[in-house]
Symmetry: C2
Subunit: 414 residues, 2 copies
C-alpha cells in the first residue's frame, strides 16, 4: 500500500488544519492551482463517500447515469444559460470552431437525455443521478473547498405534477439528513435563493465551519435542522425555540424544486391522456462529494490528525505488531488481519525498520478509527490491545477477538 505521510507542509495551507492534514496525511496531491489528485489513500475516502451517497440515492429510487463533462454550447443556449454562466464557466472551441463548456452543472444535459429516454407517463416519477466532474473558473480557496475541477453528486427528478415533485423533494431532503448525519457532520438546512438555477423552493445544507466565507444563523440545538441567512434575523429558532448563533458555514448540499424552469424550455413532455402533453416537473439535488472530506476533517480532528467516521475512513483498523522481529507477534497480526478482512477494511502495518511509535503516528495522521496493537507484554497473556482514534483503550483476548470478527458486526470490545 502506497502511504506517504509528511511531517511538514510545503506551501501555504492558509492556517487551515483540514488542508494541512489532507496534505500531510497524503490524501491529496496538488497538481495545480485548484486542481487536486487523489492518492490511493485519499481515493478510498472519496470512493467511500460516493458509496454512502450512492446507497442513499438508490434507497430513494435513484438510478445512476453518467453525462459528458464536455458539453456543446447549443444545449446551454436552449435554456439561455450560455450567456448567464459565461465568466464563471470554462469555455473552449474544437478545431472546427464549435463551442463547448466544461459542465458547471448538468440540468441541460440531463434534460436532453430525459427527453429522449422518457416518453411515457409510466416511466414517471424518475430520479436520475450521477457522480460527475464539475468545473468553475472561480477564485480557488483552501484545498478541496473551492477548486477548478471537483466531484459532485448531482441528481435530477422528473414528475407528472408539482405535488408529486414537492413530496419527493422532502424524501430526498430526508435522505440528505441521513447522509450528513452518517458522516458525523454538524449541519443545518438553510432556505435559499435558487439563484441562476431558477425554479421554486430551495435549501442549502450548511456545515458549521470556520472554512466558510459567509455567516449564517444556526440553531444551537444539534438535533435541529434550522439555519438561516443573516438577513432573516430570527431571535430564536422558529422550529424548536432554542437560541440561534451566528457562525460561518460551508455549503455541502443544495436541493431545488425547479418546477418547469428547464423542462418547458427543453420540451420535456409526456402524454397526459387524450394526447394532451404534460410538461414534466423537475427537482435537482447536489452534494459536494469532493469537498466533504475536508469539511469532515475540519469538524473532526485533533493535534495528531483527522478523526474519520468509520464509514469513510481509508481503513477501519490499523494492525500494528510492536516488534516486527518477534515472529509470534507478526503471525498473530496476520491472523487478526485475515479475520478483520471478513467484514472490515483493515491495514496491516508490517513495515520493517519503522518503530511502533512512528506507526502509531502514521495511523493517527491517516485518521484510522481503531488501532489493533499486538505487543509482547499483553500477547504473553494471550491478549491484544484496541485503541480508538478518539483515545479509549481496552484489552481483549486474541482468540475472542478473532472469533468475534466472523460476526457481521465489529467485535463490541470498546
Amino acid at each position: 500500500m502506497l502511504i506517504s505521510t509528511f511531517k511538514g507542509v510545503d506551501g501555504e495551507t492558509n492556517n487551515s488544519k483540514s488542508l494541512e492534514y489532507l496534505t500531510r496525511g497524503g490524501f491529496v496531491h496538488k497538481t495545480g492551482s485548484g486542481l487536486y489528485s487523489f492518492t490511493p489513500v485519499g481515493l478510498r475516502v472519496l470512493q467511500k463517500t460516493m458509496g454512502l451517497v450512492r446507497n442513499h440515492m438508490n434507497l430513494v429510487g435513484g438510478q445512476e447515469v453518467l453525462l459528458p463533462t464536455l458539453q456543446p454550447a447549443e444545449l446551454w443556449r436552449e435554456t439561455g444559460r450560455w450567456d448567464v454562466y459565461k465568466g464563471t464557466m470554462f469555455t473552449l472551441k474544437d478545431g472546427e470552431g464549435k463551442e463547448y463548456c466544461l459542465a458547471p452543472t448538468a440540468e441541460e444535459a440531463m434534460s436532453d437525455m430525459v427527453r429522449t429516454q422518457i416518453t411515457s407517463p409510466k416511466q414517471l416519477p424518475a430520479m436520475l443521478y450521477q457522480f460527475g466532474l464539475k468545473y468553475r473558473d472561480e477564485t480557488v480557496r483552501s484545498g478541496l473547498l473551492r477548486t477548478r475541477e471537483f466531484w459532485m453528486k448531482d441528481g435530477y427528478s422528473f414528475h407528472m405534477d408539482a405535488k408529486n415533485m414537492a413530496e419527493y423533494y422532502q424524501v430526498v431532503r430526508a435522505a440528505y439528513v441521513q447522509i450528513f448525519r452518517a458522516l458525523g457532520i454538524d449541519f443545518r438546512a438553510v432556505a435559499a435563493d435558487p439563484g441562476e438555477m431558477g425554479g421554486g423552493g430551495s435549501e442549502e445544507f450548511m456545515a458549521r465551519s470556520a472554512l466558510g466565507n459567509d455567516q449564517f444563523w444556526f440553531c444551537s440545538e444539534n438535533s435541529c435542522l434550522f439555519g438561516a441567512y443573516l438577513d432573516k434575523k430570527p431571535d430564536a429558532c422558529p422550529s424548536c425555540g432554542n437560541a440561534v448563533v451566528k457562525a460561518p458555514g460551508v455549503e455541502i448540499g443544495h436541493i431545488f424544486q425547479l418546477g418547469t424552469r428547464y423542462s418547458q424550455q427543453m420540451g420535456l413532455t409526456v402524454d397526459g391522456g387524450d394526447s394532451r402533453p404534460v410538461t414534466m416537473q423537475m427537482g435537482c439535488y447536489g452534494i459536494g462529494v469532493g469537498r466533504i472530506m475536508q469539511v469532515v476533517i475540519d469538524q473532526h480532528h485533533d493535534g495528531r490528525g483527522p478523526i474519520w467516521p468509520e464509514v469513510i475512513a481509508p481503513f477501519t483498523d490499523v494492525i500494528i505488531p510492536t516488534n516486527m522481529r518477534d515472529q509470534t507477534l507478526v503471525a498473530a497480526a496476520e491472523r487478526v488481519y485475515s479475520a478483520l478482512l471478513l467484514h472490515k477494511d483493515p491495514l496491516l502495518d508490517n513495515r520493517l525498520d519503522i518503530t511502533a511509535g512512528e506507526k502509531f503516528a502514521v495511523a493517527d495522521l491517516l485518521g484510522v478509527p481503531r488501532k489493533v496493537i499486538i505487543g509482547p507484554r499483553s500477547f504473553a497473556q494471550g491478549n491484544i490491545e484496541i485503541e480508538l482514534r478518539t483515545g479509549k483503550k481496552s484489552t481483549i483476548g486474541l482468540e475472542d477477538f478473532i472469533a468475534a470478527c466472523s460476526m457481521e458486526a465489529h467485535p463490541a470490545v470498546v
Copy 2:
C-alpha cells in the same frame, strides 16, 4: 428501472450494428458529436467493465488513484509535449489567461504526483492506475469508438531498474490477456511503434472488427496472441506456425515500456544508496474501457440485439412471468427474483400491459444472458423455463431452481 428501448434508430449509425444496438437498447444517448451519456442500463455495462479491469489491476498489485482531467500547461511543457499534442488536444484558458489542456493521457500528471509521494526505494515497485476521462479533438467515428470525451483505464508503474520494469510489463500483459478473454473478445497483441509516448517496447491489443480503419495480420489460431502491422508481411505465424489472415482491427489496449522518457525530464528519483540518485523506470498501460462495450457488441450480436458475456451484462437474468394477471405466476416470479438476488444481478420484468413477446424482445435487445420464463403450462407441473441468449432452452423445477440459487454458482441447469 428506467429501460428505454427503441424499435428504430434516429440519425445515422453508419451501417454499424453495434452502434445501432447501443442506441436501440438505450445504453447510450448522444449528447453531442462524439459526446455520449450513459443511461442506467448503459452505465451498468460500463461500471461492470471497469470492475473487471479494477479487479485485475489490483491482482497485479495496482493501487487506484485519480488525477485531474483539467491539467496545467506547465506540466506538459516540462516534457515538451505541450507543442507535440497541440492540435489533437483540447486547450483552454482561465479568466486570468492561464493555459490548460483536457488530458489526452496522464504521464505528466502521474509523474508529478509520484515525485512527491514516492521518495524512498522501499516504495518501489509501484503500480498506480485510474479510471479517468480523456479528451481528443479528433474526427469522431462510429459511436463510442472514437469520441471527444472517453473513459480510459490508465496505469503507470515505477521501478528501480529496467529489468524489474520489463518483468512487470509481462505481468500486466498477462493480466490484459485475462481481461480481454473474460470479455470474450477475439484479439491479438501487435508489436507497436510507441509514437509520441516515447520509450522502448510497446504492444497494442487489437480486437478483430470491421469497425477498424486499419488492417492487420492476425494469427488464424484463436488461442494464439500473434498479430502484426501489415508492413511486417509474415507468411505464417512466427509464434505457432498457423496461417495469418489480413483483417481490420480496433485498438482496445496499449502497453508501453517507457523507460526513463518521463521520469528523467520530471526528476523522478529515489536514493539508490550512497546518496546516489536513481531515476525510476516507468511503464504505462491503457485500456479503452469506454469503447470496449461497442467492440463486444460488434463481435457478439445476432439479429435481435447484443449477446453480452455475463461479466458485463447489464443484468444476468430477466425474469418474465408470461401473464401478469395470473397472481400465482407473479408470486413465483418474485420468489425467483429474490433467490437470484443472492448471487446474481437479475431484473424482474413485471410491467403490466406489455405482452410476454414484447418482454422477450426487450430482453434480447438488452442482451441479457438468461431469460427465466414463468408460464402457465410448465408452472402447472411445478416447472420454469430457462432460455439462454444464445438460444439453448431447458426446463427445471421451480423449487430445485430456488434451492440451487442459494449456492455460490449459478444453478447449472443449462
